[in-house]
Amino acid sequence: MITADHLTRRYGDLTAVGNVSFEAHPGLVTGFLGPNGAGKSTTMRMLCGLTPVTSGIAHVLGKPFRELANPGRQVGVLLDAAAQHPGRTGREALAVSAMLMGLPRRRVDDVIDLVGLTPKEANRRVKGYSLGMRQRLGIANALLGEPEVLILDEPANGLDPAGIRWMRDLLRDFARSGGTVLLSSHLLHEVEKVADEIVVIGHGRIVAQGTTRDLVSQSGMDLEDLFLQLTSGVARDLPRPAPAGPAAAVPAGPSSARPTRENAR
């Protein structure tokens, strides 16, 4: 469970994220959708306690992230696959995280296997990794502590079509077994395929949220048209989703059309 409650982050006069509220529930994949620079990464860093909030509060599993005792065992985080020391091998990077979390060494081998890195690749320095391999390493790092919640920023970037399919199945299975998934993306069709619920952000503000099905059906548009309309700031006169419906525009609360499987955990 992730709760963002009126999260705001200002840099001087610039409001990078303004009044963002949403929830991500166990058993569901929640897609966090928006164009580049919309505030997705800033919001995710605020959820993880890396970016101080200007106002508002974020909870993960009922607590501010910074109050989680051993967060890696509860929340798997991937914010930037490129943010690894290039001089460490993939295996060593995971071993450092595993040691910090207090996990047995064999868990490292397990996740390397799970994300489809070969032992040979895992023993190479990260410097030589493709973006796709870095994403797999980042996912491995996020899954290491067997968390209940996943927070992933653009995890599909750099993956080939087979990798994207693999990622989709992985996230679906994770949610189906009761986990909470929040993933950001600007890849609309990817999000449409994997997410049960979608939060759309544009210019630092939430412009729509609801179930994927409702967002698409109520607007009568496909997700791409809806996305471009909601986030462009140009075509403001186009029809917006009905404000009272499950796909309500801001400041709507959590969707009323919440699927019943949310309480799997």
Binding site: R45, C48, G49, L50, T51, P52, F65, R66, L68, A69, N70, P71, G72, R73, Q74, V75, V77, L79, D80, A82, A83, Q84, H85, P86, G87, R88, E92, V96, S97, M99, L100, M101, G102, R125, N141
Partner: protein, 249 residues
């Protein structure tokens, strides 16, 4: 679920000093340089072959290279962007900073012991291969004074790294600022009289030769200089680490 024990955090930070090729080579090159300085003193130079002379000879390579280990331990989270992972696995960032400090001090102590051992080994070699006799007479105050200085350099390195959060900038500041003070301090009337109190290198010099022989006045000079160059940057650095935004770019 239990919080991460501080000892484990410290061991992880220690591992991170050692598990990259650049980190390992930095430590290996420090050891090699100490050995090289001792070899030159023992067998090529013409005077300094007593154990105390060799021991004092190790202090220059230690003081120049070891703090870089502390600096890089702190700055790598930013320069290599690993902070995104480190500070999500342990969001209590002050604990991470203190673990970095502790592990860097540990490395300092290990290298100090190594320097003492190498100085002793080279002295034995000098006696064995030349007609020189044993000369072990080193004041105990020089030993623990040297250890104290090593600890100070490491702490100062971590402090500058945590405060500046950029490897090149922290290294330049670490070595450049004291030189700038030594150069310009005596020219500025307001600073001239205060120099013994604020110049760390002159304040630490008597500690190196025999810390037990320091006068009260010298301890006072040392205290203020350490406060300015080590404690203050360390506190400001830890505060900056705790409060700043951790980003990938």
């Amino acid at each position: 679920m239990n919080t991460i024990p501080f000892a484990r955090l410290t061991l992880v930070e220690w591992r991170k000093q050692l598990d990259t090729r650049s980190g390992r080579w930095l430590l290996i090159s420090i050891a090699l340089l100490i050995a090289a300085v001792l070899a030159v003193m023992a067998f090529i130079g013409d005077v300094a072959t007593t154990f105390p002379a060799l021991f004092f000879g190790t202090s220059t390579p230690l003081s120049i290279l070891l703090p870089v280990v502390g600096i890089l331990a702190a700055t790598s989270e930013w320069s290599q962007r690993t902070g995104l992972i480190t500070f999500t696995l342990e969001p209590r960032r002050t604990r991470v900073g203190l673990a970095k400090l502790t592990s860097a001090l540990g490395s300092g102590v290990v290298f100090f012991a190594l320097a003492v051992g190498l100085a002793a080994a080279f002295h034995v070699a000098v006696v064995a291969f030349t007609d020189a006799g044993f000369a072990w007479d080193l004041p105990a105050g020089a030993l623990w004074g040297g250890l104290l200085l090593t600890v100070l350099w490491m702490a100062q390195g971590v402090a500058f790294g945590a405060l500046i959060q950029n490897s090149a900038g922290a290294i330049v500041a670490f070595f450049g600022l004291p030189v700038a003070l030594a150069l310009f301090g005596p020219m500025v009337p307001a600073l001239r009289d205060a120099m013994p109190w604020i110049d760390l290198s002159t304040a630490t010099e008597p500690v190196m030769y025999d810390a037990a022989a320091l006068t009260g006045n010298q301890w006072a000079h040392l205290g203020t200089a350490i406060t300015i160059w080590v404690l203050l940057p360390l506190v400001l650095g830890l505060v900056r680490v705790a409060r700043s935004e951790i980003k990938s770019a």
